[in-house]
Symmetry: C2
Subunit: 457 residues, 2 copies
C-alpha cells in the first residue's frame, strides 16, 4: 500500500495536498466558542466528485478520519478535525453550475458561498431564501448543519430547499439523491438524511436547491414593547394573521444596545421610548407590489399597537438593511463583548413566554449575565451567556438547555451538535434514538471514518 501522502497526491494532485507544518492553522478550527482547534495531519483540495471518491478510498484504506470543510464558519465544532486526521476542503469546488430559471432551481458545488449564490440568483430575479446570518458560509456547510436563520418563519430552513444531492459514500461510491422536483416517493429520503448530518454520513459534492421568486419590495417595522411577556404574546398573533412575515425577530434591550453600538447604528428611537422599552420586535414584510406592501405595513402597525407595542418605526432600504446586518452580527457583538457561550435552543413558539420566564432565574442562580435575541417567529432563541467561571457556565448551559427540552423544544435549532453539544445531546436525548442514529451511521460508514466523534462523542 502506498503511503498516505503519495496516495492523496495521486487522488487530487500533489499541489492540492498539504501536510504537517504546511497546513495553515485555519484548517483546524471553526467559529465555535467551546471547541479547541486541532491540527489535521493532511488537507486535500479536490476538484470534483471523482477526486473526492478517490480521497475517500484512500482514507478508508488507511482508516484516516475525514472531516469535510466548507468555509469554516460553523458554530459547533463540526469542522474541527481529529488531530492528525484528514481535512477535505471544498474551496476549489466553488462553482454555481446552473441557475435553471424555468425550473426555479440552482445547481451548485458545495464550496459556493451563500453570498455568491445570492448574487447569481439575483441576476435571474430569483432567491435562495436561506440567510443564516453569514454570507461567507458555504452551501455545503449549511447543508451539513441544516442552517436556518431569520427567514425560517416564512421560508423554513435549509432542508426545505434542498431538492437533491450528489454525495460520496465512505466506500468511494457516488450517489445522486432527489432531483429538480419537489415531489418524490421512491424509497427513503437520502437527501433529507444527509442534510444536517454534519459530515458524518457522506461528503456532499453537488447540491440542487429550490429557488423562489425574488420579491422586489421590502419593509421592516421595529416595535419596542414594555417587556418580554408582551413580545412573546404578540408572536403567535403575528404569525397567524396572514401577513406572512419574512422576519420576526426578538431583541432584548441588552442585545439591542450591543448590536446598535457594535454597528454604530442610530434607529431614531427617542430616549423616552428607549427607557420604557423592555424588548424589541423586528418584523420584515416583503411583497411583489409596493402598494400592497404599504397597506401591509399599515395593517402591521395597527396590529402591533393592538398587541401593546409602545411605538412602531418603519424601516426601509438602507436603515432596514443596516439593522438586519447588525442583528446578523449579534454573535460577533456578543463575542466582542466577551460572551462565554451562545445558546441556540428552540422552544415551541407558544412556549416562548415560559422559556423567557425561566432564563433570569437560571442566570441569577449562577451569577451569570444572560441576554440576547432570537428568531421569535420560529422559536429559536440565541442567548449570550457571560459567566467566565467554567463550572458555573456549565451549570447555566445545562439548565437553559434542559428548560428548552422540558418545554418540548430542542437543544440546537441551527448550529448543530458538532463537538460542542455532544454531552447535552446524550444527556437529553432518548437513548433508543441515539442508538438508532449510531446504527444509521454504521449503515453509511461501517469503518467510522467520517467525522468521528461529531454527534456521538
Amino acid at each position: 500500500m502506498a503511503d498516505v501522502g503519495t496516495a492523496l497526491a495521486e487522488a487530487v494532485g500533489e499541489e492540492h495536498v498539504l501536510s504537517g507544518d504546511a497546513v495553515p492553522e485555519d484548517y483546524g478550527r471553526d467559529e465555535s466558542l467551546g471547541v479547541a482547534p486541532a491540527r489535521p495531519g493532511w488537507v486535500v483540495r479536490p476538484a470534483d466528485a471523482a477526486q473526492v471518491a478517490a480521497v475517500l478510498r484512500v482514507a478508508t484504506a488507511h482508516r484516516l478520519p475525514v472531516t469535510a470543510r466548507g468555509a469554516g464558519t460553523g458554530l459547533s465544532g463540526a469542522a474541527v478535525p481529529r488531530p492528525g486526521g484528514l481535512v477535505v476542503s471544498f474551496e476549489r469546488m466553488n462553482r454555481v453550475l446552473e441557475i435553471d430559471t424555468g425550473g426555479q432551481v440552482a445547481v451548485v458545488q458545495p464550496g459556493v458561498t451563500l453570498a455568491e449564490l445570492d448574487a447569481a440568483t439575483a441576476a435571474e430575479g430569483l432567491v435562495y431564501p436561506i440567510f443564516p446570518g453569514e454570507g461567507g458560509a458555504s452551501v455545503g456547510g449549511t447543508v451539513a448543519t441544516n442552517a436556518g436563520g431569520m427567514h425560517a418563519v416564512k421560508e423554513g430552513v435549509t432542508r426545505h430547499h434542498v431538492l437533491g444531492l450528489e454525495a460520496v459514500l465512505a466506500t468511494g461510491e457516488v450517489i445522486r439523491t432527489g432531483g429538480r422536483y419537489v415531489k418524490t416517493s421512491t424509497g427513503y429520503d437520502l437527501t433529507q438524511l444527509i442534510v444536517g448530518s454534519e459530515g458524518t454520513l457522506a461528503l456532499v459534492t453537488e447540491v440542487t436547491l429550490r429557488l423562489r421568486p425574488r420579491l422586489p419590495h421590502r419593509a421592516g417595522v421595529l416595535a419596542p414593547f414594555p417587556g418580554t411577556e408582551s413580545v412573546t404574546a404578540a408572536v403567535p398573533r403575528l404569525t397567524g394573521g396572514g401577513l406572512d412575515p419574512l422576519v420576526l425577530e426578538y431583541v432584548d434591550v441588552i442585545a439591542m444596545a450591543a448590536i446598535t453600538e457594535n454597528a454604530g447604528l442610530d434607529l431614531g428611537v427617542p430616549e423616552r421610548v428607549r427607557a420604557a422599552a423592555g424588548a424589541y420586535l423586528l418584523v420584515v414584510l416583503e411583497n411583489r407590489s409596493a402598494e400592497r406592501l404599504d397597506e401591509d405595513v399599515q395593517t402591521l402597525g395597527e396590529e402591533l399597537a393592538g398587541l401593546g407595542a409602545l411605538d412602531a418605526y418603519v424601516l426601509r432600504g438602507d436603515s432596514l438593511g443596516k439593522l438586519v446586518t447588525a442583528r446578523e452580527k449579534a454573535f460577533w457583538a456578543a463575542r466582542n463583548a466577551g460572551a462565554n457561550a451562545i445558546v441556540d435552543a428552540v422552544v415551541p413558539r407558544a412556549s416562548l413566554a415560559r422559556f423567557f420566564e425561566a432564563v433570569p432565574a437560571i442566570a441569577g442562580r449562577h451569577g451569570a449575565l444572560v441576554g440576547g435575541c432570537g428568531h421569535a417567529g420560529d422559536g429559536n432563541v440565541h442567548l449570550s451567556v457571560f459567566q467566565p467561571d467554567p463550572e458555573a457556565l456549565t451549570r447555566v448551559m445545562d439548565e437553559l438547555l434542559e428548560a428548552a427540552a422540558d418545554l418540548g423544544g430542542t437543544i440546537s435549532g441551527e448550529h448543530g451538535i458538532g463537538r460542542e453539544k455532544i454531552r447535552h445531546f446524550r444527556a437529553l436525548e432518548n437513548p433508543a434514538k441515539v442508538d438508532l442514529m449510531r446504527r444509521i451511521k454504521r449503515s453509511f460508514d461501517p469503518d467510522g471514518i467520517l467525522n468521528p466523534g461529531v454527534l456521538f462523542g
Copy 2:
C-alpha cells in the same frame, strides 16, 4: 411462548383481534390497480402507542410480517399484507389530539382522515395544506407515502409539513422525533426518514403537523390552449411570476372529457373553443383579501393570454369546487373507463414538454391509449394507460418511466413504490443507493418484520 392469538389478545384486547375467516376482505387490499389482494392471518386494532409496541414485540417474537394500515386508499400496494401476516389497523387511533392555534400545529393520531383534519383546522382558521385528492386517506397513510397532491406547487408535500412523529420501532421501543418547531439540528432527521418509508421502518402512532393560515378567498382560471407544447411552455412562466399559484394543473382533452362527464360537469366552454383546445390549464389563486385576489385573477388572465391561451374562464365557489373535485376523482374516472395502469412519474418542470413529446410515440409503439392530467406546477404527471394486453402494458409502463428517469425525473411522485413499482425501482435506481437503503432498513428492523417485500421485493 404463548401462541400468536393469545399474545395479540393480551396486547390489544381480544375484541380487537381478528383472525382467519373473521378477517373482512378489505384488510387485504388497497386501491392499486396492479397488486393482487392477499389474506392476512391476523388483524389487530390497537388503541395507543403502548398497544402498538406490545403488538410489535409479539410480531418480533413470532417473526410475523407486519403491515400498517390506515384507510386503505393507497395506490401502490404498500398496505397489501403478506399472506398470513399481521395487519395493524389504525382505525381506532383516530383522534385529533390538539389544534395548537398559537403554535400553528396539529397533533393527531394516524387514523385521522384528511377530511376530519380539514374540518378541525377550519374551525380555527387554519389549514393543513396537503390535499392529495382523497379526503378519506388517513394521516398515517399520507405520512407513509409522502403524499403530495394539487397544492404542492405552492405548499410542497407531506414531508414539508410533518414536524414530528411518535413512532414504534420493531423492538417495541417508542421514540419521539422532532416537535412543535420548524428548526432543529440535532442529529439525523428521523422524522424525514420515516416519512415516505411505506411502513418499512417504524409504525407511526402520532403526527405533529405544521398548519398554515386558511386564506378565505379563492378563484380559479381555466385556460384552454391549442396544444400540449403551449401549456408546458406556460408552466414555468406562471410559477416564476410571483402570483404563487396554489394549483397549476394540466388536463389533456381526453382527461377533461372523462372527468367532466364522470362528474356531470358543464364548464361553459363554448363548442368552438373546445374543438380548438388541445389541453387545459387550471390555475387556482388564493388570497386573504378579495380585492387582491380580483387583481391577481386579472393579471393571471392577461398572462395566460400572452402565453397563448385560447381563452380564460374564471371559476369561483361552487363551480371551482366542482372542477377541483372532478379533477381529484380523475383516478376513479380513469378506472371506471377501464384504465389498466396509472402513471405517477415526475419530471423537472422545465422538461415537461420533452416528456409529453415522448408519450404519444411510446403509446403508439405499443398500441396503447395514454392520456391524463397532472400537477404541471410540480412536474408530477398522472397518465392513464389503456392497454389490456399485459405484456404490451408492461412495455408501455417501462418506457414511460424510463423516459421520466432519463429526463432527470423519478418514477413515483406521490403514490410510492409499494409492491407495484419494485421492478422499476430496482431497474432504474442506482444499486449503491438501493443497497444503502437496505442497510438503513436493517438498522431499524434487523429481523425484517416491517412490511417485508415492500420497496425492495
